[in-house]
């Protein structure tokens, strides 16, 4: 960015052990970069479990009738799959991994505002995730309520709902503390000269995300606490037999869980907004509008939760309000998409793996977002609510959105994190196989939903067989792509070629320091005098 940033002659953060040995140099370090990697590794561990559960479901659904598991096992599988994927993986995913690693660097700081709290958040995350995973194995059998824990079923089932709920509650704390840390960091630790409007988009999206984490998570916290109160003390908040209202439970649950979907997507959008300008060698188009739309999504996204409950018998007034707000919140997403494509215009595009992920992100995000519009309209929602169409929608957008951005981000910042390059041709092969499998896996779900196949069905009528076969085969193709990608990354982290400080020609601060960065990131805090993404 400017000449004030010097390449340090220090040891890199990976070599700097702080005098600790073995695993302790990881789990006792308060360096934001190491904590980011701690998250990466723990998330990846759970991710493998989540993927395995997903594949098991697809195998079960390959033919009508029982194939590899019974109804109880299937119910537990999608519940734990959903809980792991949502609470353990995509919510902490990008903010905790890349946010931790990059936020301080990108705003020119040495660390986050509260480094110890940061490490503490990771411990909480691990505790919560262990509780969730333990629910799989402990006493009464894995929970079988769906990740939404809808009352009153969740009070009646005899399965291990408690550990899963407590786990989710604890994870919420981790999320809140991370958000809090980031907010203070962004407000207080920006380098001199870096005004808010000179900040890159990724920190901006983290900023929006952090507010949602801070303000929405407590609601699910208290809801889960009420569920605990209900199960332990029989209070009766949501039990119709005692006058409680199960619909109120849904309100409270979605007041958090809808904004949560924007926790998942905003940082993903941020990562895409980093990748596209870098590989197009071009300033991001409409920076100001991308920033404003980020805040708009975070803000309006808070008020649309009711679109998950259109058939629950809400009042017409509420339906009207929620439906129209849902459509409004789609606009800022659209603005972003248009700006990304406009950034490519007259650029000088280098087709490297991160860019491939970013471009395919736009495609799958469009499908996910546009199917969201079908869901947001009342008439069509009534038809496809709780069918495979919804499952298609959210896999397209959660996993297509967040997942693709995650892979893009991994490849993009890989040289910075490890100081080594991944193997380009394997990475591209993996991407291609993954992408094809992906479309085959989730495309048919949309079709099945329109045909009326309900979700959370362990068995289905024969008329739905065809598309389900395609979908199951797609899952297998995709997983092979995933394995190629994963193996390539793991291998390259150790044996890849040495990377330069700025292999892609990026302009933001993280590219001005050595790869991997030194412990303190900067020898001297830089002074910023230019807008972000400036090429000339």
């Amino acid at each position: 960015m400017s000449e004030t940033v010097k390449q340090g002659a220090h040891k890199s953060y990976l070599e700097e052990t702080g005098g600790r040995k073995g695993i302790f140099k990881w789990i006792l370090s308060t360096d934001h970069k190491r904590i980011g990697l701690l998250y990466l590794y723990s998330i990846m561990t759970w991710f493998v479990i989540g993927v395995a559960l997903g594949i098991m479901m697809k195998l079960e659904l390959i033919a009508p009738g029982k194939t590899i598991m019974g109804a109880q096992a299937y119910n537990a599988t999608f519940t734990v799959h959903g809980v792991i994927m949502i609470f353990l993986i995509v919510i902490p995913g990008l903010p905790a991994v890349f946010g931790n690693f990059l936020l301080p660097i990108q705003i020119g700081a040495k660390d986050v505002a509260f480094p110890k709290l940061n490490l503490f958040s990771w411990y909480i995350y691990v505790a919560g995730s262990i509780l969730v995973v333990a629910s799989l194995f402990a006493g009464g059998g894995p929970p079988d309520t769906g990740w939404t824990f809808y009352a009153p079923y969740s009070f009646k089932t005899g399965t291990n709902m408690l550990p899963a709920v407590v786990g989710a509650f604890v994870l919420g704390f981790s999320s809140i503390l991370t958000g809090l840390n980031f907010l203070v960091t962004i407000h207080r630790l920006r380098a001199p000269g870096m005004t808010f409007m000179k900040m890159p988009v990724f920190p901006w999206t983290l900023y929006g995300t952090a507010w949602i984490q801070l303000l929405a998570t407590p609601i699910v916290g208290i809801t889960l606490l009420m569920v605990l109160g209900e199960r332990i003390f029989n209070i009766g908040f949501f039990d119709p037999a005692k006058g409680g209202d199960p619909i109120l439970y849904q309100h409270l649950f979605w007041i958090y869980s809808h904004p949560a979907v924007y926790i998942m997507i905003l940082p993903a959008m941020g990562a895409i907004s980093e990748i596209i300008p870098t590989f197009s060698r071009k300033t991001i188009f409409g920076y100001r509008f991308i920033v404003i739309s980020t805040l708009a999504i975070a803000f309006v996204g808070y008020f649309v939760w009711g679109h998950h409950m259109f058939t629950s018998g809400m009042s017409g007034t509420a339906l009207f309000t929620f439906s129209i707000l849902t459509f409004i919140v789609a606009i800022p997403s659209a603005i972003k998409v248009f700006n990304w494509v406009a950034t490519m215009h007259q650029g000088s595009i280098l087709l490297k793996t991160p860019f491939m992920w970013a471009a395919s992100f736009i495609f799958v995000f469009l499908i996910g977002g546009l199917t969201g519009l079908v869901l947001g309209a009342l008439a069509t929602n009534v038809h496809v609510h709780d069918t495979a169409f919804v499952v298609g929608h959210f896999h397209f957008i959660v996993f297509g959105g967040t997942g693709f951005a995650f892979f893009g981000a991994v490849h993009y910042w890989f040289p910075k994190i490890y100081g080594r390059m991944y193997d380009e041709s394997w990475a591209k092969t993996g991407w291609l196989i993954f992408f094809i499998g992906y479309l085959a896996l989730y495309g048919p779900m949309l079709y099945l939903g329109i045909k009326g196949m309900p979700r959370r069905y362990f068995d289905y009528l024969p008329e739905y067989h065809g598309p389900n076969i395609l979908s199951s085969l797609g899952a297998l193709v995709m997983v092979s792509g995933f394995l190629i990608i994963l193996i390539n990354l793991i291998r390259s982290a150790r044996h890849g070629e040495k990377a330069e400080a700025n292999p892609w020609g990026g302009t933001n601060l993280e590219w001005q320091i050595s790869s991997p960065p030194s412990l303190e990131n900067f020898d001297e805090i830089p002074t910023i005098d230019k807008a972000t993404y400036k090429y000339d």
Binding site: L215, H251, I255, F303, M314, G316, T321
Partner: protein
């Protein structure tokens, strides 16, 4: 940091606010005791609102802090109110 200049709030002021708060509390009890029907609740909540404003501004120093804090607190309170309002849109028009 250089920008910090701490405002010291005098004991008199704090005690004065405490006095007001106690009077308001008794007032709200009195109002609801003499039964003003539906308005009693609204009045009690209004008084609670005034009381909390005092606590926020004086006890919690908002009046003397950077503007950003006031803005944040205002927005958060508005957010909670809007969320309650939207939820009630469902229940009131069922």
């Amino acid at each position: 940091m250089a920008e910090e200049k701490h405002h010291i709030i005098s004991y008199q002021k704090l005690l004065g606010v405490l006095g007001i708060l106690i009077v308001l509390t008794l007032l709200s009890v009195a109002i609801t005791e003499i039964e003003l029907s539906r308005w009693a609740t609204i009045a009690a909540l209004l008084i609670a609102g005034i009381k909390s404003t005092f606590v926020l501004l004086i006890f919690m120093h908002l009046r003397f802090d950077q503007r950003i804090f006031r803005v944040m607190v205002g927005l958060i309170i508005a957010l909670v109110l809007v969320v309650i309002f939207i939820t009630m849109l469902d229940f009131m028009f069922r």
